[in-house]
Structure formats: C-alpha cells, structure tokens
Amino acid sequence: MTTRYLTAKVAGSLATLLFIVCFNFFLFRIVDSDPVANLFRGRNLTQSQRAELTKQFGLDKSTGGQFVDYLKQTAQLNLGRSYTSNQPVWSEIKDKAGPTIALVGISAVLSAVFGVLLGIAAAWRRRTKTDYSVTGFSMATFSLPDFWLGMILLTIFAVGLGLFPTGGIEDPSSTATGLAKLPDQAQHIFLPALTLTVAYLGEYTLVMRSSLLETMREDYLVLARAKGLRDVLVRNRHAVPNALLPVVALLAINLGFVLAGAIAVEAIFSWPGLGLATYEAIKGPDLPMLQGLFLVFSLSMIVFNLIADLLYGYLDPRVRTA
C-alpha cells in the first residue's frame, strides 16, 4: 500500500472529524429551546436558582462564547456535564458503551457469519429449493422492522413461554459479581441479540449470494474445475474468498454503527446502552450528552470507514491505484 494512499485517507478522516465537531455544536441549537425551563417545569424555582442553573449549564453566555468553550473543552477531551444527571458526559458514555458493544457486537458477528453461510448455500445451489427458501427468508428478515420483530420475539419467548426476562441487562435482585453475573446477563442478552441478528442477517445473505454468483461466472473457476478439483474445493478455495470482498466492506461499515447501537431494540428490551441514552437525551434536551454521543458515534463511523478503506486497498490492489 502506498504512503500517499494512506496519508490521503487519514487526512480525509481527520477533516471529517473536525467538521463534525463544529457541526455538532450548532446542530442541537437550531431548535430554539430553553433546557432550564423545560427540565424544571412546575418546580417552583426561585429567580436565583434559575440564574444559577443557567450559569451552571453555561447558557448565560452568547452562542459564540459557548462555542469557544465547547471547542476548548472538546480539545481537552472534556465533553461537559449532563444536564439531567450532573455527571461528566464522558463517564456516562463509558458506562453505557459496554452493554451496546456487547449487544450489537455479538449480533453483528453472528449475523455476518450466518448471513455469509446462507448466502453461499443459496448461490451454490441457485434455482433450487434451498436458494428460493434462503432468499425468501432473507428478503423477509431484511424488510422486517427490528422493533416489530423484537416485540414478536418478546411476546413469544418472554410472555408466552416465560423462557427469558422481558428486559434489562441483569436481574436486579441478583447479588452476583464479576464472572458470576455472566449466566444472568447471557439470559438477558439472548432476545435482543436474536432480534438484531435476524434483522441484520438478510443483508449479508443477499450481498454474499449476488457476489458469489458473479464470481462463479469467472474464467478461473472454469479452469479450477478443468484441473479436476472437486466442487467443494473450487467453492471454498477459489470462489468464496474472492466473493467475500463486498461483505468485508459491509461488515466494517456495520461495525461503525456498533456504538450508535440500535435505538429501537434497546428501547424495547430496556437495554441500558448508548442507543437508549440517545433517546433519553433527546427528550431533555440534554445538549452536552447529545453532543458527546454524536461525537462518539461519528468517531466510530469515521474510524471503521477508514479501516474499511484501508482493508479494501489491501485486499484489492485495483482500489489503491485508482
């Protein structure tokens, strides 16, 4: 990989990040709102209490002054304090990142693995019953809204069969600590992870299927067969590795979404992650929290996009010379 290609990609990412840091600040201030009045409606605050809260939130300064403060703070990796909890935004985000990474990470990997396998099966046995049923299933799950699927799974497995809890990440009355919590948390993550896995699965299947079908028309596969290789080996050694290229890109981009979580699914299963935190912060509006969350989401998108770019360049030499 050339240094020039690398430098260009990294510089592009940094420029995007800088733009987002600035854009972030103004985005949440387009709407004319007063967080103090809204958060404390009906609370009978005195004038001085209001003034104090306004000052504490940094809202007593002009927009320009607030922007300068924001840039300074962000440069020092200080994302401010949440209006609602009065705790540093960074620590709030840190606490909630774990559950989201676990949930969306597991689902992303599982859906990619099973999606690819199904895609291979469908493409290899194209125009058979396997192909039709896999494609049909994938189209169906791809088009299902994840919140709807979540509700259905919740109704069947949690309410109807009573196999899994209805929400949360752990049993509140459990006193287990450390690794002993794992079985309890595994039971809680099962339904949301299943929902997301099924919801993401179809995309991988369809991409893998069409990519493999395209590869199967290549001359080198005819050659491989002509050499006398068995069908399974032709598929596994020659066709699949070449067809995986678009899936790698898709996976990298989807991993960028991992932190942004799945707002709807986290809300349905009361999963205490970043998606839910975003939803709550919008209700406030908790401006520092929203700014912090969007910054982190953008950062993860940029980083994974960069990784996808670099990986693509590495896997496919045509990209980096283009």
Binding site: N44, Q47, Q87, L163, T166, P172, V232, I268, P285
Partner: protein
C-alpha cells in the same frame, strides 16, 4: 473456509444457549422477599439536590424520613422523626421533639443537629427540592432531641416539615460544590429502606433499614426498575417478573383488570390537563377576538369534557371545572351551575352571534365585528404528549362547528415553553401536577409570573399570560392565613375567579394507573384514602407496611420454565455437538 467459520459459530450458539439455561436454573435461589416495582420513567439521580423525576421522589420517600409525616388517609400532618411539636403565640416559631434513640441506617445517631444542618444548608444553597419548604426558615438544635424552627414570614404550611433530612455526617463533610455534584450512592438514610445498588437507567435496589423508627419492614428488599417499553412492563407483571407497576397505559390497564391475581388502581393525585388561551398581558397579544371575554366564554361552551375523558383517556379520568391545586380534594371548589361552562354549541354560537362575530363571506368562518379578519386561531399541539393530538382533533372540531378556524402547529415541550413565554400563540393544551400544599400552583397565576422580560421569556410560570390584581390580593392573603378553614375559602374564591377569566379551560384530572400482584404482597395503602395511588404517592406509605403473602408449597414460579429451558438446551447442545463432529469428519476427508 466455510467449515472453519461454521464450527465456531455453532459453538457460540451452543454457548449462548447453555448460558441462558444456566441462568434460568440459577434464578429463584430462594432469596428472601423482594418487592419488585416497574416504572417507565426511571430515577435520574439519587441526590435530592439534583434529581427531578417522579421515580427519584419515590426513591427518596423510601430512603429519607421527614420531620413530620403525612397521613395516608388525608395528608394531614402526623408525627415523623419528630414525635411532637409546639408553636409559639404568633405561630412563626415551632419547637419539635425528636423520638428517642433515632439512628441512621449505618447505626450513627440521628439528632437535631442533622435536622438543623439540613434546613439551614438547604436554605443557604437553595437545594431545588427543599426550597419551597425551607426558604424562609432557620433552625437551631439546643439539645440532641430538640429542634427550634423559625420562619421569617407567617407560613400556613407550618408545622408541616416535609423536607428530606440528610445525614450530616455524610453530606456535611463536602463543600457546597461537591454536594451539588454528589451522586448520593452512600445508602445511608432514615426511611424504611436504604439504597444498596443503583444502576442508572436500569434499577435501584434498596434493603430494609433495621434502624427505621417504625421498626424494620417485613419485606427484605425493594427494587425500582425502569422499563422503556410499556408493553414489556405489562408483560412482566403478568408473568410475575414484577410485583407492581406504575404509570401503566390505559390499554395495558384494561388487560390487567382481567387477571384475578392482579389488583388495578386508579390513583388520583390531582394531575390535570387544560386548554390555555393567550390572555394578552404578556409579551405578545393574541388574535384580537381572544381579548373579548365573550369569545372566550363561547369557547368555554365548545368543550365537551365528558367526551374527552371517554375518548382521549379511555374513560380513566374525571372532568374538571377549575384548576387542580392539590391532590387533596378539599381545595377544589364546587362550581355553581350558572358559572360553569357546560357543553352547548348552540349557546356558544348564540354568544358569538350576539357579540357581532358573524360569517359575512359565507365560508363557514366568522369574522371580527364589522367584517375583516376571520377568527382563525394559532393552536399549539404538544408533540411530547400522547393526549395532545386527540384533544386537538376534538377541540378544533368543536370550534369549527361554532365558526372558528384554527391553524395547528406542533412543538415539543422545550419549544412550547419558549413560545408560551414569548406569547407567540393563541391557544395550547398542557397540564400540571400539584404539590400537597396549594401555594405553588396558586402562585403560578399571579401578575408577577406573567412574562415581561423579552430577553428571558421562560423565567415565568403564568402560562395564561393573564393578570388579575384581585387574584393577586387574594393570593397574598392566603399565603399568610394561618386558619386552615379560612385559607381553604380564600383558595376556593381564587379558583372560581381563575375559571371565570375564561383563558384557562381545565379539562380533566387523570389518575396514575397502577397495578400490583395480590398473590405476592399485602398491606398496600392508598394515599389519600379511597382515591389515591398505592405506590408513587406523596409520601409512599405502602412500603413500610408491605407483607409477603405466605408462600405456598412449590411456589417456585421459575421451576416450570426451568424445565423447558433445560430440555431446549440439551437439544441445542446435542444438535451442536452432532454438527460439530460431522463437520470435523468432513473437513478431515477434505484434507486429502
């Protein structure tokens, strides 16, 4: 390649299934009685200096006792940490005697020092949840069991002292700034239960306080759990995962009413909804027609409260003719029938006709007297409320029938607060939930709460934007009236005046819909009696009185599902293992 991927995937699946099963088996390990409550809102902070949500109040009610308590029956003031009290001649100085041998949950003595420190520090630092009680008070502690509290003004709320008393040996060690940012997870309190574990956005677990002044509660633990999905909360109480639920949806409530093991409660605490008209005394005038009392009167006759309760609230509510200023019904006056705005579209039309508002151009909409500007009002619809949209549908429909058009605009709460402050609207619908003492709600409609500073329009409460000097006079009188009966009369007079302005049409009071499992706990108390809620009440008296229903033999409700899970998991493990073995073989064959 494919095999290499498939093998770990199958293993992972087996692992997840296995863990789930272990967890299911590991549950229900015979833990002592835990009262599990679901609520859709959640505790925002355990610190009474920071939190604002209803769930946070519930947590403090559980953890912190107050000097005087409120009777479950009617909110009357009863002994709390103080067993008795005596007022001075002018009723501005009150001397409280604490119960003997009071202790914090950590075993340290609870003395008058803690009370005096809380009152004085809360006043100086203006703690948001203490201010309304302590802003004019100073406290002294002449001896460990005596607290003397002086008010700088006549205060009809005294001797009620319903501010949470905090442990000085914890909170007193910090600077004011540190206190303001303290997360309050110390779990030291004087209430029936104290915090054991808090996972923000998920749950708070409390354990019984052995030093609680009424004695250790019969229940071992209380859990307040946040549910982001209201349907999941209904499901959880049905399956027994929860013992009680707060803020249940109307449709969920109807489902739960069918379950013989579940008690459903419509708990009234005075939460009300109104349609407010811009009274014109704020920063911007409304449509000129709305400044005419006749037009406002006609609008009052175009609101069918019965229908709104039936259709918008699913029948869970009661029509309301005046402002609801307290959860206690004694503060609500009976409106004489000649003063009430009853639903009568013909009368509404007649009033408009007589006042000269006629439809001169035949488009179905009336114009100002003498023609000209049509009666088309700007109606703000709250996007943050599920009720606002259907209310808007009904109300604007009725207005249309009397020849008034509306232009609807949607705003979220934050935007609407600003719009109301700036007076940039004709009408909107919103609501209030009052405190027990009516003073705060009454104060919101005084003249100095009408927005007057264009640079800071949201710094005011009067969202009627209407100023009535006579109302202000009565407000000042009730504020210092120490005779309770007389104060009630003054409040009634104020509320009837307020209703007569015609700028604030109250629609209904709505209950908190709650449910609890009768087969798990007994001892629930409604506050106030008969009409109030059993949990999330003003002082939440139920928790200290709950008793677990004696468990019947084999009452392990997880057992059945545990068996099913075990079967499912055995099947998954066998399938997984089989697939794994087959794959290993085939891979070996391929390595020819």
């Amino acid at each position: 390649m494919m095999r290499k991927v498939l093998a770990p995937a199958v293993l992972l699946l087996v692992l997840v299934g296995g863990l789930a099963a272990v967890a299911a088996q590991g549950q229900d390990d015979g833990r002592t009685s835990v009262f599990d409550v679901g609520d859709p809102q959640g505790i925002d902070s355990m610190s009474p200096l920071i939190g604002v949500t209803v769930a946070a109040y519930e947590a403090w009610n559980i953890q912190y006792a107050t000097l005087t308590d409120k009777a479950a029956k009617d909110y009357s003031t009863i002994p709390g940490l103080a067993e008795s009290w005596k007022g001075s001649e002018d009723q501005r100085t009150w001397t409280y005697k604490l119960r003997p041998g009071l202790k914090w949950s950590d075993g340290k003595p609870l003395t008058s020092e803690d009370v005096a420190w809380t009152v004085n520090t809360a006043r100086k630092e203006e703690w948001i949840n203490h201010s309304s009680v302590v802003q004019n008070l100073t406290a002294e502690a002449p001896d460990p069991r005596t607290v003397v509290i002086r008010s700088s003004v006549p205060d009809p709320k005294l001797p009620t002292m319903d501010a949470y008393i905090l442990p000085k040996h914890i909170w007193g060690k910090m600077s004011a700034d540190e206190r303001g940012n303290y997360d309050a997870l110390d779990g030291v309190g004087s209430g029936p239960f104290v915090l054991e574990k808090f996972e923000k956005g998920q749950f708070a677990r409390f354990r019984a306080n052995p030093h609680y002044w009424r004695g250790r509660p019969a229940v071992d633990e209380v859990v307040l759990r946040k549910f982001n999905n209201p349907d999941a909360m209904i499901a959880a109480i049905k399956t027994g995962e929860l013992d009680a639920a707060f803020d249940v949806s109307g449709s969920g409530f109807k489902q739960l009413q069918q379950d013989p093991d579940i008690a459903t409660i419509e708990g009234y605490q005075g939460s009300m909804t109104e349609i407010a008209i811009n009274g014109g005394d704020g920063l911007k005038k409304p449509h000129p027609a709305l400044l005419d009392p006749k037009v406002r009167e006609a609008i009052g006759h175009a609101i069918d409260r019965e229908t709104l309760v039936k259709r918008v609230l699913d029948g869970f509510g009661q029509p309301l003719d005046t402002l609801s200023v307290s959860p206690s019904p004694k503060w609500t006056p009976d409106v004489p029938s000649e003063e009430a705005f009853d639903f009568d579209l013909a009368e509404a039309r007649q009033i408009l006709e007589d006042a000269g508002y006629k439809d001169t151009d035949g488009d179905g909409i009336r114009e100002m007297p003498g023609g000209g500007q049509p009666l088309n009002f700007k109606y703000m619809v709250r996007s943050d409320s599920v009720e606002a949209q259907p209310i808007a549908e009904f109300f604007t429909g009725w207005l249309r029938e009397i020849g008034i058009a509306t232009t609807r605009k949607v705003a979220d709460d934050s935007q609407l607060t600003t719009i109301v402050g700036k007076g940039d609207y004709d009408m909107f619908s919103w609501g209030w939930t009052p405190f027990v003492d009516p003073d705060p709600m009454l104060s919101y409609f005084t003249c100095d709460q009408v927005a007057s500073d264009p640079d800071d329009p949201t710094n005011y409460y009067n969202d009627a934007n209407y100023c009535d000097p006579q109302y202000d006079k009565l407000y000042q009188q009730q504020k210092v009236e120490l005779d309770d009966q007389r104060r009630v009369e003054l409040a009634h007079e104020m509320l009837l005046r307020h209703a007569n302005w015609g700028v604030y049409h109250t629609l209904y009071v709505e209950p908190d819909l709650q449910a609890y499992r009768k087969d798990r706990f007994t001892g629930f108390v409604r506050q106030p009696a008969k009409t109030g809620p059993v949990i999330y009440a003003q002082t939440s008296p139920s928790y200290a009185r709950l008793k677990p229903v004696t468990a019947t033999a084999g009452g392990d409700d997880g057992g059945g599902s545990g068996g099913i899970i075990a079967a499912v998991v055995v099947a998954v493990v066998l399938l997984g293992a089989g697939a794994f073995v087959v794959m290993r073989r085939r891979t070996a064959y391929e390595r020819e």
